[in-house]
Each structure stands twice: as C-alpha cells, then as structure tokens.
Symmetry: none
Subunit: 210 residues, 4 copies
DNA sequence: AATGAATGAGCTTTCATTCAT
DNA sequence: TATGAATGAAAGCTCATTCAT
C-alpha cells in the first residue's frame, strides 16, 4: 500500500494499542510476547514496528493515553463554588468512572503501570503527572475549604489531598482484584466521610464564631 | 546426606530472600535474573534451587513473609473498646509502620506484588488475604461503631472498611513513588477524617436521641 | 505503460548505484539496508526494484562497473615497444589512478568485493576477470621482456605478473585503510623495483652475450 | 558441571573459535548464523555466550589470534646481517607460510577481516597492527640496506616496505581466490625482484665508488 | 512508473533450570 | 550439600521484498 491517509495511520496505532491493552490486561507486560500482541492485532510483527519503536514504547504510549483520558475526565469537575461540593463532585466523577466494565482492562493495566513506573523513568514521569495534576487540584480545593471554614482547619491540605488520591488509587487496586466490587456503596462511604468533614468544620466554625 | 541443622536451612532461606528482596526492589521481578539473585546472595545457582523450587517460588515466599509481617503488626491493634479509638489506633499503627527507611524495599516490592497478583493465582491468594483479614477487622469495628453510635449510621461498614484499606494502599503506592513523602502529616489528615466521622456521628446521635 | 526514455532509465540506475556505492563504502554491504540505499537515492523501495532485481544485483552491478572502469583505464597502457617501458607505464597508470579522492569510495567497496567474491560465484567471476585480464597482459609483456632480454630470464612470467598484480592489490588495500597514504612515493618504489629488474637483465644479457 | 579446570575453559574457547573459523571461511561472517557456529562447535547457543560476549566478539578474537600467529611466524626472520638476505628470508618465511592447506581457512577469513576492518574500529586496530609491525621491520631493514649500499638508494624505505607488504597481501588474496595457486613460483619471482634490486645497488655502488 | 505500508522468516541473544562432578 | 557450565526454547526485533493503490 502506498501513501495512506493520516486517519489510516492513526487507526492502525489504535488497533495496535487496543491489542496491546487486551494482552497486557490478560497476561501482564512481561508475560505478553510481541507475538501475542501481533496476533491479537491481526497484523504482522513488522507492521508493529512501523508504528512503535519497541515493546516498551507501547507501554509508554498506553500510559500516556491513560493519563490523557483521566485528565480529560477530571477536567472541569472542580468548578463548584463550595469546596465540599467540589470534592463531592470530584469523588463521584473519578470513582464513578471506574464502575464500568469497559474500564476493567485499564484497571488491570494501571496497576501494572504503577509497578512499571518504579523501573522506568519515562513511565514514572507519565504516571506521576497523573497523580500530581489531581493532587494540585485537590490541594487547592481543600485549602480553599479550610479558608472558608467548610473544611476542618487542622490538617495540611496537601496531605489531605493525598488521602483523597489514596481513596481513588485503592479503589482502582481493589477493583482490579475484584471486578464485581460494589462501587456505589464505596462512593457512599466516601461521601459520608466528606460529610463528616463538613460537619466537623461546621462545628468548629460555630465554636469559633459562636 | 551431610545433614545440616534446621537453623542453617532457615538462615540460608532468609539469606536468599533478602537477596531477592533487594534485587526485586531495585529492578523488579522480571528484570531480575536468577544470576542477579544468586550473585547478591553470594551463593551458587545450584544452591538456590536447594532452597526454592523456582523463581516464582521466591516471589510467593516473599509475598507470604510480607503478609505474615503485616498481620503481626496489626494483631491486637483493634482492642480499644471505643471503635473510633480502635480505628485511630489501627491507622496510626498501620500507616506509621510504613514511615521507616527499612520498609522502602518492601514498599517497592509490594506494589509489584499487587501487579503480579493479577497473573498468579497463588500470589493473588496471599495478597488478597493480606487485604481480607484487615477488611474483616475494620468491618467489625465500623459496624460496632455504627451500632454504638460513635460512627455515622449510613454507609455500609464493608464499604467503609474498603475506604480505610484504600487509604493504606494509596500511601504505600505514593511512598513507593516518593520515598521522602511526609507520612506524619498524612496520618494527621487521616485522623482528622476519623474525627470528622466521630463528630458527625455525635451530631446525628444527638438529633436521633434528642 | 507510461514509457520513459532510455536515458531516464539509465540515469535512474546510476542514481541508485551512486547511492549504493556511498552506503556500501560507509557501512559495508551487510550493514547497509535497502532502506539506507533507498533513502540515500531519494527514491522509494518500490522504485529500487524496478531497476534492480535484488540487493545482491546491485552489488554485482557495482562490481561490473568497477571492472569496466578499470579495464578502460588500462586499455592501451601496454603499447610501448620496450617491455620495461610498458611495465613502467602500466604501473604509473594503474597505481596513479588510485591517488584520487574520488576513488576513495571505490577502494573501500573493492576490498569488500574481494571478500564477497569468496561467497558469491557471480561476483567472483566479475572480480576474477578484473584480475585475469591484467594478468594476461602482464604475462605477455613479461614473457616478451624475457625473450628480448630486457627482463631477467629466470622466473615464470605468469608468477611475476601475479607479483605485479599483488603490488596493485596491496596498494588498494593499504589505501582503503589509510586514505592519506603517499601514493607517489609508493610508485617511485615500484619503479625502482622495475629498474632493478632491467639492470639485472642487462647484466645477465652482457654475461650471456659477452 | 561444576568448577572446571582452566585448561578446559581454554579448550572450549578454542573449540568455538575453530568452529567459527570453519563457518566464516565457508560462508563469510554475515551469512554465518550463530546457529551455524553452535552446531559446528557441537555446543549449545548458551554455551557460546559463556565464552564470547557476542558474534562480533569472536570475529575480534579470531583477528587477534591471527595477528598473534603471524607475528610469531615473523619473529626472528630478519636477523640476517645482510639486508638483502634478511629481505629474502622474510619473503621466504612469510610467503612460504601461506603455502599450506591448513592455512586455507585463514586466508579466506583474512580477506574478510580486511573488509571488516573498514567498519569495525577494533578489528581495524588489530588488523592494522598486523601490517604496521612488519612494515616497521621492513623499513628498518631496507633503510639499512640503502645505507650499506646493498639496496638502491633512491626510493623511500617506508614506501618500499609497503610494496613488500603488498606483495604479501596480494598473494593472500590471490590464494584465497585460487587455492591451487603455485606459491613456489610466486616466491621465485619475488626473489628475482630482490636479486634485481641487489644487482642494481651493486651497479650504482660501483659507479659511485668507481 | 512510482509509492511505502505490510509481510514474516529468520536473526542474535537471554536466562530459568539442570546435573555431572 | 554445593558448584557453575551447560542447555535450548523462546524472546524481541530486523529487513529484503512485495503489491494494492
């Protein structure tokens, strides 16, 4: 085939990435051979290397896509004026997004990316920026809440943001292990925690201002 | 049969496990070769196979040791009569335990075990029982708190327990990525969350009983 | 059939051969990929195969071109009546021709053709005829010189011709390795050898005839 | 097999080198696969890599062995007081050495090393030092001959040494191409050339001193 | 005639495991 | 028990060539 449309090239890349995602989810990065990916994609070994430089490159490409998708999902979820509302929305959006059969492959691959990041600086970079972005957003919202008195004033906003991030990460992990896990009750529990913080803040506020 | 003392055997096993832990932490399971472990341990390839059946076996052995150690650390941390106190103690003990340079290797290996569990039923079993045990303890404590009115009555105790577990898992992950992370402020933030729940429960209680 | 002028075809062939020569000189036959040649030539992979049947075919084509050029350079260099003069002219022409920056690529490729000839009967044929032609000319001239008494009568003319060929081949090799080698002093040394033979013949002659 | 004698290791290395030499002579470096070498050596693929780091490494090892053997063969061949005698001895020893069926493999591999040297700095280094050593010896002998009047005074000793080296290199090449080539008549022709130089020197001397 | 994405056999190298000593 | 050289299947990747457009 001669010169081919840009769209064709993009579609091929995605075809390969989808195949790789399926293989990685099923067998992990290291137990997946190039043959597996090639077979799953319906292409040839050579074709793969037209689109990706190496096996590692496709892991990085997947990490980047994952990061992009997650960032997009969160974009604009923190616009609520009230910071507790903002946190609630963020929790619902980010956690709710995981309750999706189509995300199952991604959850499994995400856990592997966490491990892979420990070895590969490039993947670490991408993976970390998937944490640092939300962490910043959360820290800002929490700090605002503390200033406004809708959140308890004591704990460091950055540390609290990390706790929120952990609540997300832990769900990813637990769901990867147990696909049928009930996400909605998990979200309810998280919302109860947020409500608790709001209540405590209100109490502290009334004491302060009372 | 130049029989050798039981102690000698145990010591050799631990020598190999320490070597494997160091290698796995440094390079990951899959990038670590048997040669690496053998070299690090100061033994020979043949000797390794006297003590472990395979490369996978040592991963499982490490998972089991990790599980055992964690279980021991938590044992008896939930004895407080008051359930919020019990949760507070559990948080301090489990999270505080991570704030330890010597645990650094373990944190990195733990994250890899999470990924590995997705592929290997044996590791999944061990890893899951490292989650299920604490989950049961937490669920009991939380259910008790709800009955006694020291925790808000709404959310499912099991789901809330999962949120607590997530707070632990997320810290392991974040610390693996960022060894210098400030654990004490993280713990403070967690305690503030628990305090919030207690406050909210107290409020709900007074409304109910008032 | 968008037929194209003969000249166009010839020009394309030479364009490709020049590209191949450059690549082969730079990286050797085996380290040069078709992609390299295609890129260097500014054509497409498909276009290459319109003009040459295979990668090997272009090596053969280069060998043939090399052979043709060398034969042309030597043609008519042996016309001197006196055989020592003829040898001197042959030496000056053939060796002098090498002292040329433009020949540098060819020298490097020639050495590779020598090696390649050992594997490929077709290249051996072409390469050998590049030796056998001159060998015949030299043998004739030397035999004549011996008959006429201008060269010492002892050694086999064919063997002496081979020594002359070796003097040429060795220079090609040494220049390929050391592009800045001083060819003119090399030629002087060769001429001194020829002069020595002439002197020895003259002495022998005077003894015989005296 | 456990710890094994030094001799065993050396023998294995030589076993592999012999196998590689046979393969390279037969099919060239690039057409020889590791499988070929492994099969010829009677060992396994893994065993090869216990003794050599790569396919390239064995080419270098062969180049080094070749260099060593040649240097040894020439050592002490230039001790004759008279420089023409010394040159004669050098010619007989170095050229005569090639007239040996066992050397056939080496001749073919040598020609390939010449080509390989153009690409690989390490092989170039080894190969070049196989030329530079003899060149130095020859230059010294020739310069001495010129001082003593046993060789014609005109040409640069270094250049003349290169001509001598070429006579050797050309024979290697011609023999590689034509195994049945008559070396003894080639040597005779070379000796006649040397005799010619001696005669010319004697003549020049008598003119000068006469 | 020209394109260049696609092919897939075949390459070099690795490494978990074994077993003669 | 301990050794470490040996094994060989299987890995990731390359590249000469083809052919639909």
């Amino acid at each position: 085939m001669p010169k081919v449309s840009e769209a064709h090239l993009t579609q091929r890349r995605q075809q390969i990435m989808a195949a790789a995602l399926a293989c990685f989810s099923r067998q992990g990065f290291h137990r997946t051979t190039m043959q597996d990916i090639v077979k799953e994609s319906g292409l040839s070994a050579g074709a793969f290397y037209t689109y990706f430089a190496s096996k590692e490159a496709i892991v990085v490409a997947l990490a980047e896509e994952h990061h992009r998708t997650e960032a997009a999902a969160l974009a604009g979820a923190d616009t609520a004026t009230d910071s507790v509302d903002a946190l609630t929305t963020l929790a619902q959006v980010s956690l709710g997004r995981l309750d999706n059969a189509e995300e199952r492959q991604w959850r499994r691959v995400t856990v592997q990316l966490w491990a892979e990041a420990l070895r590969d600086p490039h993947i670490m970079e991408v993976t970390r920026s998937g944490l640092d972005g939300p962490l910043e957003v959360l820290t800002d919202v929490i700090a605002r809440g503390q200033r406004e008195g809708t959140l308890p004033p004591g704990p460091d906003p950055g540390a609290t943001a990390r706790v929120c991030a952990a609540i997300f990460q832990g769900l990813v992990l637990q769901q990867a292990w147990e696909p049928e896990l009930d996400v909605s009750s998990y979200i309810e529990a998280v919302l109860a925690v947020l409500a608790g913080l709001a209540t405590a803040a209100a109490g502290a506020q009334s004491v302060t201002t009372g």
